[in-house]
Symmetry: C2
Subunit: 362 residues, 2 copies
């Protein structure tokens, strides 16, 4: 294992500890809002096993960023801001569409000049829970991630940080919003703070689902079929990688542990580290909202959730599933479809350009 990857993995472990702490607050708060959850005797063993492997989503996401409403509001504007792209036509939301679960449901996204990237755009929902960002884990957090696509020539294609800062600084309302979001900072409007604000907004994108209700002790939150699916998911060993609050997102793993992935081509983390052991290594994705975030895998080549599940079982666990088992697991996975916070779904109004705002270019 490469040194950098080990660092990422231990960072992941640290995150899990932190998340565990937050989750306790979550349970407390939820009990004041809801009737006391019930758990039948029959459900208790499954619940015990599940809570040992998974955690409910925390009420707010942990992280280094502070969470002032001013920063989150600015971040939401910037997330929807097409002037962060050279053409003035592409925003973070173009590929991480909040109307479609933080993805664009394309194999790979369309960027500047209608170019397509090499890898599938993963969802921004719950992404702040991940150990690191990008399929190859090359960004340590959401803010570092946010800086990438803006300058990537096949994505938003801004030529440099300076033009980003120049465009934003030419928009009077942004100058004011950055000042409020980053008070007592000499250079409030900077490329770094643009990314920090976007990350602050993204950290609000938690999507609790019925599975969280089950984990916090509401046995009626899942149907008998869904509980059966959860049992199958755990007993087949999927939880070796897909565990914790994001049901994934905490580890890097080789895609093709037992058997090569049939579309294998992208060398994954190796492209960053040049370390042999990192070949075909990718971040284990979160399975939250997985039903909605097709097509699957780093290359977006698989459209069916059933095929994705059987592929995983074969390539990673070396155990072919029966159609019945696949169906059970898929039934469980659909319980991970959650709800976005209302505020996140409310479109921001973007401030108007100023007289000196650099114009969009093709």
């Amino acid at each position: 294992m490469s040194k950098r990857l080990s660092q990422v993995l231990s960072f992941g472990a640290a995150s899990l500890v932190l998340l565990g702490a937050c989750e306790q607050t979550s349970s407390k708060e939820q009990t004041t809002d809801r009737p006391t959850p019930t758990l039948s005797e029959a459900d208790k063993p499954l619940h015990t096993q599940a809570t040992a492997l998974f955690k409910p989503l925390p009420p707010t996401m942990p992280g280094a960023e502070s969470f002032t409403p001013a920063k989150v509001a600015l971040g939401k504007q910037l997330f929807h801001e097409p002037r962060l792209s050279k053409s003035g036509a592409l925003s973070c939301n173009s590929c991480h569409n909040l109307a479609s679960w933080g993805v664009d449901n394309r194999p790979t996204s369309i960027g500047h000049g209608f170019q397509t990237g090499e890898r599938n755009s993963p969802t921004v929902l719950n992404a702040g829970l991940h150990t690191a960002q990008f399929w190859d884990l090359r960004a340590k957090d959401l803010a570092e991630q946010a800086k990438g696509p803006i300058l990537n020539p096949v994505e938003m294609a801004m030529p440099d940080e300076a033009l980003v800062v120049k465009r934003l600084s030419s928009i009077p309302a942004y100058v004011e919003s950055f000042r409020k979001a980053f008070p007592n900072v000499e250079q409030a409007l900077s490329y770094e703070n643009t990314a920090q604000a976007i990350a602050a907004f993204e950290r609000t994108l938690l999507t609790p689902s019925r599975f969280d209700a089950f984990l916090t002790g509401d046995g009626s939150a899942l149907t008998a079929e869904e509980k059966k699916g959860l049992q199958t998911f755990m007993s087949k060993g999927c939880t070796a990688c897909h565990s914790g609050p994001a049901i994934g997102g905490a580890l890097a793993q080789k895609f093709g542990v037992v058997k090569p992935y049939k579309h294998a081509r992208d060398l994954g983390r190796f492209t960053q580290t040049q370390v042999e052991a990192d070949k075909f290594v990718f971040k284990v994705p979160s399975l939250r909202n997985i039903e909605k975030t097709y097509p699957y895998f780093h290359d977006g080549k698989v459209w069916s959730l059933e095929e994705a599940v059987t592929t995983m079982a074969e390539t990673q666990l070396g155990q072919p599933l029966t159609p019945q088992e696949t169906s059970e697991i898929v039934t469980f996975l659909k319980t991970l479809t959650g709800t976005l916070p209302e505020d996140a779904l409310k479109l921001p109004i973007l401030p108007a350009s100023g007289p000196d705002t650099p114009q969009p270019q093709i």
Copy 2:
């Protein structure tokens, strides 16, 4: 004047009558919600002159479409639906971004293959008040307009209506939503009804502003400078074309009545009718939210509102404005910046594709 254009113009007159009727309801409803508006003796002549030329926005937009919540909700999803484009990446909202006042603030929009169109994308806000749609008035209403870009090869580029219907029909939740939005109809999910639903949503996009408050009798809604600007706007003759509830949108007019437009190239309505009198004839745009919907004119070649105002005065009215007059008019125009209904700004959640949904193509 061409026969078709005369029809459009008389249709426009009919609309104005209809709008006048609705406006009375508006005034009534508003008085129950607000304190009785006040109008000083000094304001009365200006108010009398203004109400003879303009109308406040109606509380709901008139039109042939019925307004069931089911139809509006479906229309909002379809407005944000990238699967209405060949690539699966472009929706109505891509070019008519509700976060930026129903426009993309580009000279011309970017469509399939990063191609750009010939004309500036006008705002969808308040567009249902217009006599007809498109710069050359070639679509009689919002529904007819909505059918255009979906099939336009340089816009959303769907090859034909059949693929649109096939995609939508393959998405189970849409089949159900169309059934609810168009009850007792044999073929609820059709290309026509896709457009009808989008139009129903677009008809909710009214943006009342401080100017409406003034028109309904609240003298304090405008500052002294804004009232001066309104006076200048009216006395210079801008209201010959920019009047009614949309402050425009009701007529077609030659761009270059007195003097040619310096960027004149597009023959406007002539491209539709081949009638000499239609050369350089375009729809008179609404001035609502004009401060935000730059760049200006059918070609999006003018970025400054001041330049747009002086250009109009010179080309259409033959009277150059002093910088002071231009500034006064711009001050008035900014009072036309309104507020979108909260519901319209709430992002819809798009339903997931089905197993047989035709995939996006580049």
